[in-house]
Symmetry: C2
Subunit: 630 residues, 2 copies
C-alpha cells in the first residue's frame, strides 16, 4: 500500500474558519467511531450485548439520557459563551493559539475510545509504538544521530523544561558519584575538573562500567547530595517564571539561577554570557547549564544557538563545560522548514531553490537571515530540546515533548535498567520509569503520530505550514508598519517592536508627538482591554490581541533603543520603567494568502479605528468628569 | 432550567460492550460538533469562508484529503490490531482500565474544538471556570472546609504526588525562613521545634506578615537551601518507583526516603510507623511527611489514615509533627460512596439505610468494614490528596488531580502574589504560577466537569458507579475462591490474596499438593503470558489479566502468611524470595449484575481451563524434549 505524498494543500487539513470542511471532519470522525464500535462488536462475537433493548426502553435509562442531554446543553452554552475565536483567519492576533489540525483532533477523539495509557507498553501496545516513532521523528527533526538519540511526548513545555533541568542536574553530578564509586575512572581530576566534564565524556565512562551503573546513580544528585555544588543555571534575562519554578522544583534552587541579558533583538547576548561564565569560573563556580530559546514567549525571537555552541567549544579548551538545553517549545517545529524531503538540513546556498520547488512561500519573503538559519542549524549540538506539538505542531492541548541527543542519558535518570524492554521491541516496557510523568494518554501519541504522517517534519509537510504562518506574520508586520489612525485631531501611529525572527509580531500604538511613556503604556493597555475579554467581549469582538509588559526588572534596558526610536527620552524610560506592548502570535494557516490577508486587513483597520475612538472618547469623558468634580 | 436529578441508570452512560449506545454517542458527539461549527459560522458572519468551493474541488485538495484518508486507514488498523479489549464486561480482569464515561469522552472531543489552554484564564475563560469548579468539587469530596480549600486538575497521579511532595518540602522549610526574615514570630524556638511546627501554625504566622511573604518564600526551600535538613519522607514498604522518582526530582533525594512495613493486609503498619518516627526523633531527625495510600497500586488496599492521624495527634503532644499526603490516585473517587446527597459524610449507623435507598449494591455486599470507613473518613485531615479522574473517575487518560486542605498553602509555592486574580473571579489569572505544570488542555477540565455534572460526587452519582465496581470485584473474588481445575491427573486451585479493601482482586493458581514455590510462580507467570499480549494475543484472547511480583526487597515478609496458607514452608519462601500473583482491577460498570456476571463466569472458567491445559501440555512437551536431549 505505497503511494506518493501529494503536494499538500493546507486547506484540506483544517476544519475551516466557517467550518468549511465539516463534511470531511464528520466523515473521518464517524469512520473512526464506527471502526471502533466494529472492533468492540467483534471481540468475542459470541458474547451478547449487556445493555439490552429493554434496558434502553426503561424509564430510568431515558431519564438518565435526558439528564446527560441537559448537561451537554449546559456545556455547549458555556463553551460558546466563554471561548476565544482564534479560528478566525484574520481577526485573532493574540495568544499562541489557532486552528489545530483536523487529523490531530480526529485521531485524538478516535484513540480516546481505546484509552491506552502509554506509561506501560503492556496496556497500550499500539499507541506506545506511535510514541516511540514520534520520539524518533523529533530526533530526526533536530538532526540528532539516528539510533543514538531519543524523544518522547510529555504534558507540556514546562514539564519538558523541568525534565531537561533534571537531566542536566543528574548528568552534572555523575562525575562526583563516579569519583566515589569508581575513582579509578576519574583519577587525578580535581572537583573543578569533575564538574566540567562533558556529557559525552561522562557517558563514555559509564559505558565501561555498566555493572557499577546502579551504584553510581545512587550516589548522583538523585540521592539529594551535592545539589549546591553543581553551579549556576543560566537563563535569558526575561526570567520566565516557569524557569524559576523549575529550579525550585528540581531542588537546585532559585539562588543558582542567573539571568543573561538580552540584546536589542531580545536574543541572549552571547558576549555577556561569556563574561558571566568567566566571572563564575574565576570564583570556581561551575555552570550547570545554559538555556537557549528558539522562539521566546513574549517576542518570538531566536537565540543564537550557534554562537552558544561556539562559545562552549572555545571554553572547553580552557576546561570549562556547560550543558545546553534548548527551549524550543514554541519554535521547535519550525526546524521542519530547514529539512529537505530526505530530512537533511538544506544547504544555505540551495534554500531558495528548495523553497521555490515546494512552494513554501507564495511570494518572496524576507524572513530568513543567515543568523536565524545558523541558530536553527546548531540545535543538534544541545543535549536536550523542548518541543511542543501543541504550539507550532498545530496539535490540540496538551502535547509537549522532549528530545535527547544521546540516548544513553536516559539511563542516567531511569528507574529501571535499560534491559527492561520488551523482547524485540526497542521500547521501554515501563515508560514511566524513564521520564518525569507517569500515566499519559495514548491518544496524545496517536494525535501527534497522525499529524506527522499527514505532514512529515520537513519541507514537504510541516515546513509548508510553518512557512504559511511566517508569511502571514510578515504580512501583519508590514500592515502595521507605520500605519496611522486619525481620532479627532490626534494621529496614532503603529510601531512594530522588531523584525520578527519567527511568526510573532509585537507592536505598540503611540500618539504622534506624545513623549510621555506612561501615556503610551496606558493607550496600549486600554487597547488590549478593548481587544480582549476584559472589556471587548469575545464573540462580538472584531479584533482580538494579547499584551505584555517589558519592565526593567525583567528586561533591563533592552527595550530602550525601541523606546527611544519612538521619541521617548532615556529619562522617561527610567521614570516609567516599562513599556506595554501588544503581542500577536500569527499562527493562522490562511493569512499568508495575499487575497485573504487583504480582505481582513480592511476589517482590522476598521476595528482598530473604532477601538481607538472608543478609548479616546472614554478618555475625554473621564477628563470632563474630573474637571466637573474640581 | 431546574430539574431533579433522576435515579441514575449506569447503562445510559457508557458506549457499551458491543457499542449498544452508539446511537446516543453519535447524537451527542454530532450535536457538539454542529454547535461548535455554528459558533464558528456566526462569529463575524460577514466574513466569507476562506476555503472556497473551488478550493475543495481542486486536485491538490482532493489528493491531500485522500492522503489524510489513507493515514486514517493506517491509524485505525494499528489501533484495532494493538489495543486491549478492556471494554468487555467479563473477559478483561487486568490493568486499571475499563469503559470510560461517554459524557467525558464526548465532552473532551467537543471542548478540544475550542482548544482552551487552562494555564491562563485569558485564553480559556470557559474551561478555566470549569477547572475551578472541579477543584472545589474535589475539596467537597474530601470533606475539606468549603471556601478554605482548593484543588486542580493535573496530568496524572505522579505529577500530583510530586506536587504534594513539593508542597510538603516548601511548607516544612518555611519556619527556617521565617526565622531568617522575621525571627520575632518564631522567637525562642529551636531548630527541632521549627522543623516540627504544624502546617496550620506556619500558615497562621504568614497570615500576620503578608508584606514579608515574598522574602520568606525566597528564603524557603525554593532557594535550594536547607533541603537536607527537612528530614525523612516515609512511604509504604512497596516503595513504588514513582515515589523514588519524586524524591529525586524534588531534590530532597532518595536518601531521605524511608519505607514503613506493611501488615498482612498490605496496609501500612502504623505501629511500625510510630516506632520509626520515634527512632528518628531520638536522633533529632525530623519527619518531612508520611504518605498514606487509598487503593494501593498492586493490591488495591486502603491504609489506615485514621490511625495515622491519631498517631500524629499523639506525637504532636510530644512536639513531633509530620505532613500527611494521601495518595488516593486510585481510590479517591471512592469517597463518593460515603457522601449523602448533601455531600455530608454518612454516619456509620445509617449507611446501610442510605445504600438501600440509593440502590448502591444490588445484593447485600460484605465489602464495607468499620476500618475502611474510618480510613476514608479521616482523609480530610491530610494536607494534600492525590486523586486521578482517569482511574475511578472513569475519565479517559490523562486526567489527574490534587486537592489541598488549606488554600493558603497555594501561596507558599506560587510564583505570583495571590491578588493576581481576575476582578470578581476567585480564579488565578495564571494558573501555571500556582501549580507544577504549565499549559494544559481545557478539554480535560471540560471532560471532568461534565462527568461530575452527570454523576455528582456522592451516593446519587459516582457512589453508584463505585458501588457497582466493588460489587463486581466481590463477585469475581467469590468466583475465584477455592475454584478447582482438573488438568490430566492434576488439580489446580485458585486462591485470592486478601479480602479486597476496594475493587482489586489479586490471586494465584497452585497445583494441589505442590510445595515448590518456584513452580507455583512459574505457573502463574505462564498463565499471565497466556492471558496477555505476551503469548495470548489480545483480540482473540478469551480472558485477560495482569500480574505482579511480591518480592522480599519490596515487601519484606508481608506475603509470608499468604504463602504459608497455601502450604509452602518458610524455608521455601526464603529460598524463592517472591510470589508471583495475578492481578485484576475490577472496574467494569456491568459485572456487578448477577446475571451478567454469571454468564461471563462460565466463559472465564472455560478460558482458564483451556489456558491451563495449554500450559501443562507445553510443560510436558518441554520435559519430553529435555529427556530426548539427554
Ligand atoms: Mg513478568
Amino acid at each position: 500500500m505505497k503511494y506518493e505524498m501529494p503536494d499538500i494543500n493546507l486547506k484540506a487539513l483544517f476544519l475551516g474558519v466557517k467550518g468549511e470542511n465539516t463534511d470531511l471532519f464528520k466523515e473521518l470522525l464517524l469512520k473512526m467511531v464506527d471502526e471502533h464500535v466494529g472492533w468492540r462488536q467483534n471481540y468475542m462475537p459470541q458474547d451478547l450485548p449487556v445493555i439490552t433493548p429493554q434496558d434502553k426502553s426503561s424509564k430510568s435509562f431515558q431519564e438518565t439520557a435526558d439528564h446527560m442531554r441537559s448537561v451537554f446543553n449546559l456545556l455547549s452554552s458555556k463553551l460558546r459563551a466563554n471561548s476565544l475565536p482564534w479560528h478566525s483567519a484574520g481577526r485573532f492576533w493574540g495568544h499562541m493559539n489557532s486552528e489545530t489540525l483536523m487529523p490531530a483532533i480526529i485521531a485524538y477523539s478516535a484513540a480516546m475510545l481505546w484509552n491506552g495509557n502509554n506509561v506501560a507498553y503492556e496496556s497500550s501496545p499500539g499507541t506506545s509504538q506511535m510514541e516511540e516513532e514520534v520520539g524518533h521523528e523529533f530526533a530526526a527533526l533536530m538532526s540528532y544521530v539516528k539510533g543514538k538519540s531519543w524523544g518522547h511526548i510529555c504534558a507540556d513545555g514546562s514539564i519538558a523544561n523541568l525534565e531537561g533541568l533534571w537531566y542536566a542536574r543528574n548528568m552534572k553530578s555523575l562525575p562526583l558519584a563516579i569519583k566515589e564509586v569508581a575513582p579509578e575512572f576519574v583519577a587525578g581530576k580535581s572537583e573543578w575538573e569533575l564538574l566540567n566534564m562533558s556529557t559525552a565524556e561522562i557517558l563514555d565512562i559509564l559505558d565501561q562500567i555498566p555493572e557499577k551503573m546502579d551504584e553510581i546513580k545512587a550516589h548522583s544528585a538523585r540521592s539529594g547530595k551535592n545539589l549546591q555544588k553543581l553551579g549556576k543555571w543560566l537563563i535569558p534575562q526575561t526570567k520566565h517564571y516557569s524557569w524559576l519554578k523549575a529550579a525550585d522544583i528540581i531542588g537546585v534552587g532559585l539562588d543558582c539561577v542567573e539571568e543573561i541579558d538580552v540584546d536589542d533583538n531580545y536574543r541572549m547576548d552571547i558576549d555577556k554570557l561569556e563574561a558571566k561564565i568567566r566571572e563564575f569560573a574565576a570564583q570556581q563556580i561551575p555552570v550547570l547549564g545554559v538555556v537557549g530559546v528558539i522562539g521566546t514567549t513574549e517576542e518570538g525571537q531566536v537565540d543564537r544557538i550557534d554562537k552558544m555552541v561556539e562559545l562552549r567549544e572555545k571554553l572547553a579548551k580552557e576546561g570549562i563545560y556547560f550543558y545546553i538545553h534548548v527551549d524550543a517549545a514554541y519554535g521547535g517545529y519550525a526546524r521542519a522548514i530547514f529539512l529537505d524531503e530526505n530530512n537533511e538540513f538544506i544547504e544555505w546556498e540551495k534554500i531558495d531553490e528548495v523553497y521555490a520547488k515546494h512552494n513554501i512561500f507564495s511570494e518572496p519573503c524576507e524572513w530568513l537571515t543567515k543568523e536565524i538559519y545558523d541558530s536553527f542549524k546548531a540545535m543538534n549540538q544541545a543535549e536536550t530540546i523542548t518541543i511542543d506539538p501543541h504550539k507550532m505542531g498545530y496539535i490540540p492541548y496538551s502535547a509537549g515533548g522532549i528530545v535527547i541527543k544521546d540516548i544513553r542519558m536516559r539511563d542516567a535518570i531511569s528507574y529501571f535498567a535499560t534491559y527492561v524492554f520488551e523482547k524485540g521491541a526497542d521500547i521501554p516496557a515501563l515508560l514511566g520509569a524513564y521520564m518525569l510523568e507517569g500515566s499519559k494518554a495514548g491518544a496524545t501519541a496517536a494525535a501527534v503520530w497522525t499529524a506527522h504522517k499527514v505532514l512529515p517534519l520537513n519541507v514537504t509537510g510541516y515546513g509548508k505550514l510553518i512557512g504559511a504562518s511566517i508569511e502571514g506574520a510578515y504580512r501583519f508586520y508590514h500592515f502595521l508598519y507605520g500605519k496611522e489612525f486619525k481620532v479627532g485631531d490626534k494621529t496614532i501611529r503603529l510601531y512594530p517592536l522588531t523584525r520578527p525572527d519567527f511568526n510573532m509580531v509585537d507592536y505598540v500604538f503611540n500618539e504622534v508627538g506624545n513623549t510621555d511613556l506612561e501615556k503610551m503604556n496606558k493607550l496600549n493597555h486600554d487597547f488590549f482591554d478593548q481587544a480582549s475579554y476584559v472589556k471587548g467581549g469575545l464573540y462580538d469582538n472584531e479584533f482580538i490581541t494579547s499584551h505584555t509588559d517589558f519592565a526593567i526588572p525583567d528586561y533591563g534596558n533592552s527595550p530602550l533603543p525601541f523606546v527611544k526610536s519612538l521619541g521617548f527620552s532615556e529619562r522617561e524610560w527610567d521614570r516609567e520603567g516599562k513599556v506595554t506592548v501588544l503581542r500577536a502570535s500569527a499562527l493562522s494557516p490562511y493569512a499568508h494568502d495575499k487575497d485573504v490577508f487583504e480582505e481582513y486587513a480592511g476589517e482590522i483597520e476598521k476595528a482598530m479605528q473604532s477601538k481607538l475612538e472608543k478609548i479616546y472618547s472614554e478618555m475625554e469623558a473621564n477628563a470632563k468628569v474630573e474637571v466637573a468634580v474640581r
